[in-house]
Amino acid sequence: MNPTAVVSERPGDKGTAGRALKKDGPVGIGASRPGFLWAVPAAVFFGLFAIVPLIMVAVLSFASWDGLSDPEFAGLANWKKLLDDPVMIKSLWLSVLLTVLGVAVQTPLSILLGVWAAGHQRNRAVLSAIYFVPMLLSIAAVSVLWRALLDPNLGVPAHATWLFGDGNLFGVQAGAIGVLVFVSTWQFTPLHTLIYQGAARAVPQVLYQAAQIDGAGRVRQFFHITLPQLRNAIITSMILMVVGGLTTFDTVLILTQGGPGSDTTISAYYMYQKAFKSFDYGSASAIALLLVLVSTLISLIVVRLSGYDKMRSTMEGL
């Protein structure tokens, strides 16, 4: 799981707050409403450990600093450097590529599995329980597991050359990216399956009964009833995947170290390299800020495009 995994602005967060106020407006007696003080501990805590560092990142992105001497103001130098840095541009492209591949592979897979698992048959319950197991492992554990399983000389590839060839998975770009996409699919499909399973169970049965009377087949039912009804779940799950994909870090560090060359150096990892391998904290901060901006932008776009912020009632059944 990623700390920022869910970017779902809850449907109409501010909007509904406003509506709710209006609704119980006439009766609302001041005393029963919590004052701002109730929110202070959480706000202070979050401010200290998330917002303050974020502001520091913004400041540092205009500084030149190696951590040994005091930071010096550097104007736009870090930003200019990044724009001219081919690895930086490549890393953005790789982040997008990994994210898109992740969404493209995981979404259909987990929709199918989720809808299938939503059935109440006994064997499905048993299989679902097994499907869930990768979710019990941490990202680090999963990455370590696959690094060991995919070792060219001591792992599975050495014994399955018909499938893996020379086993040089981590030495060619396609192999390394394939491993990263596969490993995150292996780990995160259970979560998304669960989301779809919950959503599929909430689809009113009458819709299917009506469709059956009309003589609609299974495939037609899936495309005309199930999929449209899963709309909200699809949005939630895709936001999870997009933000998760953009901030992938553990998997890259453990599986590929950004290699071969810089072929899997995604932006989040490049930032880490800039900070803790090259000790260029200024540039690292600029990349970090860029990451924050991009993920804010993407979540806003997704929320807007989907009209997610205007829907509320359909989510209730989840």
Binding site: L48, D66, D70, P152, F170, S262
Partner: protein, 433 residues
């Protein structure tokens, strides 16, 4: 950046308050190395820690101020060191590679010059080989006491595998190419390479550049002469690397193999590969993981000479030595000085020799017979003593900020995803100051 100071002060207060509350409510735990009245010695975590632990235990038996040994596994050592050295949790004494690796710390005024220690006990200087000791002298002041040992890069082999293929350790480049061919025909990977770590790949560049152009070319490049990389000698070295890789010397999946997780040493030990070019620590690694192999079949030789090359065939590359440096803020300079004196003690020299390290004290020669493998120790010692030039690893010679880009270029040229011109361009773009 005054803002930063203000920010961090606000945060310190808030953080401290929170920490207090949390510790009162019973959450937390952990060591918090801050100030426990001990000397914290930070070393690179690997098989050699065994000796350091023994040494610390010996020291603590008699000393009032205790030494605590902290280790950080290899891959993260440099990163951690630089991030903590200025913080409250900075160690008192830390492991490093001398020269370039401590220069930024000296420039930032973080290190204690050791000259006063040496004035009190001249042995801290006189008991080490001068060439080695001097590589931790920065701007005329001494900042490091040699520890562990010198680590030249050698061509290790599996004697059994070579014998079976009818191959001798190569003396010339042509020998090596012939050996590659023979081993390949015999169905083994001729040379094990942990390309996933990238620095093992670097060693091939270091030696070929040295043999073809002599040590001067790299020195020029390091001094900022960008034309060095585009010179005919540089291109010749690159084309020879290309030739070797294309001959299948390293197999095809070397970039998926690592040295640090013992992938490539295992290939050598289990007879799946014939050679491995590696620092002298290969010996202690093998002794640790494959003691039988280390005893009976682990062979070694100098890097082959290249016909018509300008570099002497006795030249070495690698880590000249490891050093202990002292942080200025240490509260126990006296005890630290006492601890450092152990580095030239007979006991330390013998202990290092017993795990295959080669200390560079003046008394080392007398104890070579007590080494884990006296033959290996003598071979190494002889080479280091005779070497006209000992090139410090490129990744240590260049500033830290160059390392990532350098590794990427090396790996990509080596595996063929970058051509000669692009490689030269990438090397020219590295920061040199």
């Amino acid at each position: 950046m005054k803002q930063r100071a203000r920010f961090s002060r606000t945060v310190v207060v808030g953080g401290a308050a929170l920490a207090l509350v949390l510790s009162l409510t019973g959450c937390g735990g952990g060591s918090g190395a801050a100030d426990d009245g001990a000397i914290h010695v930070l070393v690179y975590g690997d098989a050699a820690n065994k000796v350091e632990k023994e040494l610390v235990a010996t020291f603590n038996e008699t000393s009032e101020v205790k030494v605590v040994l902290d280790t950080i596994p290899g891959a993260d050592y440099q990163a951690k060191l630089q991030t903590i050295i200025r913080s409250k949790q900075a160690p008192d004494v830390f492991f490093n590679w001398g020269g370039g690796s401590i220069k930024p710390f000296v420039d930032a005024g973080l290190l204690l010059p050791l000259d006063s220690f040496i004035a009190d006990d001249p042995g801290l200087k006189a008991n080490f080989l001068p060439s080695v000791f001097n590589s931790a002298v920065v701007d005329g002041a001494s900042y490091g006491i040699p520890m562990r040992g010198t680590q030249p890069v050698l061509l290790f082999n599996n004697g059994k595998v070579l014998k079976k293929a009818g191959v001798e350790p190569p003396r010339t480049w042509d020998d090596l190419l012939a050996a590659v061919k023979a081993l390949k025909a015999d169905g083994v990977t001729p040379i094990a390479l942990g390309g996933g770590d990238r620095w093992p790949t670097l060693m091939w560049f270091e030696y070929l550049y040295d043999r073809i152009a002599g040590p001067e070319l790299f020195q020029k490049a390091l001094d900022g002469d960008k034309d060095a990389w585009a010179s005919p000698d540089s291109r010749k070295a690159l084309s020879m690397i290309r030739e070797l890789v294309d001959a299948g010397a390293f197999g095809t999946n070397y970039d998926s193999v690592k040295f640090t997780d013992q992938g490539s040493p295992t290939l050598l030990a289990t007879g799946k590969a014939g050679f491995e070019l590696m620092g002298s620590w290969e010996y202690s690694t093998q002794q640790d993981a494959h003691p039988e192999f280390a005893k009976s079949d682990l062979g070694y030789s100098a890097f082959p000479s290249v016909e018509g090359g300008k570099g002497d065939r006795a030249n070495l590359v690698g880590n000249t030595n490891n050093f202990y440096s002292v942080v200025k803020k240490t509260k126990h300079p006296q005890a630290v000085a006492e601890f450092l004196k152990l580095m030239y003690s007979d006991r330390f020299v013998k202990a290092q020799l017993s795990i295959g390290n080669l200390p560079t004290t003046t008394n080392t020669e007398a104890f070579l017979d007590t080494a884990a493998s006296p033959e290996f120790a003598k071979f190494q010692y002889g080479m280091v003593k005779e070497a006209p030039a000992f090139q410090l690893s490129w990744d240590q010679a260049y500033p830290q900020s160059a390392a990532t880009a350098m590794y990427q270029a090396l790996q990509q040229f080596f595996n063929g995803s970058m051509d000669e011109d692009a490689f030269i361009e990438a090397m020219q773009a590295l920061p040199t100051s």
